[in-house]
Amino acid sequence: MSLVSEPKQGGCALPEIARERGQRQVFCGLAGIVWLHRKIQDAFFLVVGSRTCAHLLQSAAGVMIFAEPRFATAILQERDLAGMADCNQELDRVVADVLERRPDIKTLFLVGSCPSEVIKLDLGKAAERLSEHYSGRVQVIDYSASGLETTFTQGEDTCLGALVPRLPALPSIERSLLVLGTLPDVVEDQFRRLFDALEIGPVHFLPPRQASELPPVGPGTSVLLAQPFLGETARALHKRGATLLTAPYPFGVEGTLAWLKAAAAAWGVAPERVDEVAAPAVARARRGLARYREQLAGKRIYFMPDSQLEIPLARFLQRELGVELVEVASPFIDRQLMEHELALLPEGVRLTEGQDVDTQLDRVRAARPDLTVCGLGLANPLEAEGLRTKWSIELVFSPVHGFDQAADLAELFARPLTRGALLQV
């Protein structure tokens, strides 16, 4: 892989990572549908799975999107498994139902699940067949979000990875910047303005707001990751000739600046120019962060493994807000994509890859951190033990990238502490 790297800070050895195996307390990749179906507005996600898959989506999504979901589950039943029904015919029937109900849909994702993988239902073939059948009207794409293959945010990686072969070719003489990873529309617009000011472009985003308007890719494409959990998609883009720009992720002032500078370097824009263009936003962000630094500095934080955002967020909290890192655990650590982030972590920080939830909770209880970042299944039980927590899922669902969200991001961590101090009951 050809990498355009920033010079490494300090040049010290990467921290050691302890590996842990045991019970995992995480969502599977299906949870990604909750944000992907809102981002890609002309797409529908049809999970081919079990009642458990449907129940998971419903529980993870809660009521916030009850109105008109652009996702559904084709629930496998006894007769499908017993071979009494032809799964492919059944799937065709269900897909016809969905498309009849939602004639506005341009892209249909067939999403593989644990049961569909175990029974080896070939969704790739089904997608091919259905694409042909609905040719000119709907493109049908398959990917797997099963818990056997994917952990939480990795579902976005497999989804976007499935789009890569379909991206149109960028003419070989042209170049473009491709920002990879779901960003809230407001953040996308902010970044676009910054890139415009730096005269970096044209800029495309993957996923796009419409799946029928896929961005082009080719040897002239530089890929900048906005989310750290998209390794497979990044590698697939690389195979289509794109160059990966590696940088810290755009959380906080430092991360966002370095991230923009990676793109600037590729476009031959001087880093000083980035500083100049970003100066007003940086000043705003620093002002916003100062308030939370007062509250968060010296506080001890523990990251349970969840979204793969743990390392960049820990870096932001430690370096920009003075938070002390008790332990940073992540379900999976892609050393290549985390290279710059790991280099920015303080020496001796405890890093864990994987999970054994009970022993991790033992460590949380022993360390009694000021704040534990964890999933919804663990938060209330820890609160009941007198420990303040931050739901990790909110970090995936809220606009937290870039300069103008840096203070909002800090506030998400400060709020449980503020609330803890406020309540007299």
């Binding site: 307390q25 009642r51 458990t52 998971l56 979901p69 644990c114 049961p115 919804l376 299944g377 039980p381």
Partner: protein, 529 residues
């Protein structure tokens, strides 16, 4: 394959979790892939449970499938036993584990743990959550009491002189609808009759409590969805009679007291309704006259739906225009009740079908689950929640039972509150064209402005016609004169669709091509309200 947007019930292993999470000293090991741990949040977030549910998952991934998942099962069981020291271990599997056939139950039983180990069969591709809870509770009770059943023919020892009759309350469960408060209320009611509660299960019970179940004189099947199998088994094996009336509403509470009296050998004829039972008087109070004939659509679990229909029709004077359940296991009860109210029973777990039927029935009030709350919101119809599946709002901080006399008070408040009050409704009917006080507004006591979910009248009335070909054909034969169309708009939105259909039917039957204002009123006279 079944296309599902939203589901009323989870898979059967969720039912097993709910039983385990209801109890003390019981732990469930689930053979399940990574991701299935999501269900912990149902307990910690919806119910605001302050500890993790007693469930340990194997969370296998692809790499384990290639190796030895059986070893993983055994390791998980052992470390769960070492860490949590449960008194009873339940072993189950989720949908994916069922496919790989590791037989975790047999593996667990072969481990020689010094506690009862009960394997559960939870067929994920045919059964659902309530069934799973019912089955798990039954297997647990049977597993613990099987050896202790008396020999056939052996009669129960008589109750000692001077000891009050004792009853078990069976069925209250974690994530059930208002179980916590119903247990308190029914315990208070039984005390009034002179009956002591012996064991409540599964909610709050330990395995030792389950072993004490046969000591009670009889069982009360408070939630048949969870406990009917268990009650039947206890009746057969231990000769304990079952009280089957579910005391939801005033009439059912009276019937319940009478049944308890019969079973316990107590004369309950002198037991008066407590003076804090306000529902009967509130309902008779003249201001409630406006409730008469309100069209209500009811959907939920079978027990709550059937009970709600009785309360609605006999105790509030509503008209039941729809009755259904998502629980096929209890379809018979709902069919019987629907017949009584002269409506077509709706037995389905297809949310879209329920939505279509609600729209078609043009109710003025929907009594349903959290799913119907959303349907009603979209159709702009008031709604009260009467049944699981539950939501965080169904766990109120205050005491809010559904059963017994206080439960009836709560039903009155919760069902009547969303409606527009009597005089307000009259004013709106009289001056329909008032620009800021019309039937698209929410009731004044529920805040100002137009309810955002309220669908414009044309959509509400047009939808069923478009989706129903027979009516569509009829409608296409007749047209509405503009004045008649205007006049139709003066009819309150919740009955407008019905008025439109009746008028069109009336016109078609009489070969009338153009519906005029006269036709509209002729049809009104013909059909009545």
């Amino acid at each position: 394959m079944q296309l599902t947007l939203w589901s009323y019930e989870g898979p059967p292993h969720i039912g097993a979790m709910r039983v385990a999470a209801s109890m003390q000293g019981v732990h469930l090991v689930l053979h399940a892939p990574q991701g299935d741990t999501y269900s912990d949040l149902l307990f910690t977030m919806i119910e605001r449970r302050d500890s993790r549910p007693p469930v340990t998952y194997t969370t296998f991934q692809a790499r384990e499938l290639g190796a030895d998942t059986a070893e993983l099962v055994k390791d998980t069981i052992q470390s769960c036993y070492d860490r949590f020291s449960p008194e009873v271990l339940l072993i189950g599997e989720s949908c994916t584990a069922e496919l790989i056939q590791d037989q975790p139950g047999a593996l667990a039983q072969g481990m020689g743990l010094p506690i009862p180990v009960l394997p559960l069969e939870l067929p994920a591709y045919t059964r659902k959550e309530s069934w799973g809870a019912n089955e798990t509770f039954y297997q647990l009770v049977r597993g613990l009491l099987h050896e202790r059943r008396p020999a056939p023919g052996e009669s129960r020892p008589p109750r000692p002189e001077g000891q009050r009759p004792r009853a078990n309350l069976l069925g209250p469960i974690s994530l059930g609808f208002r179980c916590r408060d119903d247990v308190t209320e029914i315990t208070r009611l039984l005390d009034m009759i002179g009956v002591d509660v012996h064991v409540v299960a599964p909610l709050g019970a330990s395995p030792a409590d389950l072993l004490r179940l046969p000591e009670a004189d009889f069982n009360i099947c408070l939630y048949p969805e969870t406990a009917d199998q268990t009650c039947l088994w206890l009746e057969r094996m231990f000769g304990q009679p079952t009280v089957k009336t579910v005391p939801l509403g005033i009439g059912a509470t009276r019937d319940f007291i009478a049944e308890v009296g019969r079973v316990a050998g107590i004369d309950t004829s002198g037991i008066a309704m407590p003076d804090w039972s306000r529902m009967p008087w509130y309902s008779r109070s003249v201001d409630s006259t406006y409730l008469t004939g309100k069209r209500v659509f009811i959907f939920g679990d079978a027990t709550h739906a059937v009970a709600a229909a009785r309360v609605a029709s006999e105790e509030l004077g509503f008209t039941v225009v729809g009755l259904g359940t998502y629980a096929r296991e209890f379809a018979r009860e709902v069919r019987a009740a629907a017949k009584q109210y002269g409506v077509e029973p709706l037995i389905t777990d297809d949310y879209l079908e329920v939505e279509a039927r609600v729209a078609e029935a043009h109710p003025e009030l929907v009594l349903g689950t959290q799913m119907e709350r959303h349907i009603a919101k979209r159709l702009g119809v008031p709604c009260a929640v009467i049944s699981a599946p539950v939501h965080v709002q169904d766990f109120p901080a205050r005491y809010a039972p559904q059963m017994g006399y206080e439960g009836a008070n709560v039903l009155f408040d919760t069902w009547v509150h969303p409606l527009m009050m009597g005089l307000e409704e009259h004013l709106i009917t009289m001056f329909r064209e008032d620009f800021e006080f019309n039937d698209a507004s929410t009731p004044s006591h529920l805040g100002h402005g137009t309810s955002p979910g309220r669908v414009p009248e044309t959509t509400v009335s047009a939808q069923p016609q478009e989706t129903s070909p027979a009516e569509g054909d009829d409608a296409s034969a007749t047209t509405w004169a503009p004045e008649a169309e205007q006049e139709l708009k003066k009819i309150p939105f919740f009955v407008r669709g019905k008025a439109r259909r009746n008028t069109e039917r009336y016109a078609t039957e009489r070969g009338i091509q153009t519906i005029t204002v006269e036709t509209l009123y002729d049809a009104k006279a013909h059909f009545g309200r």
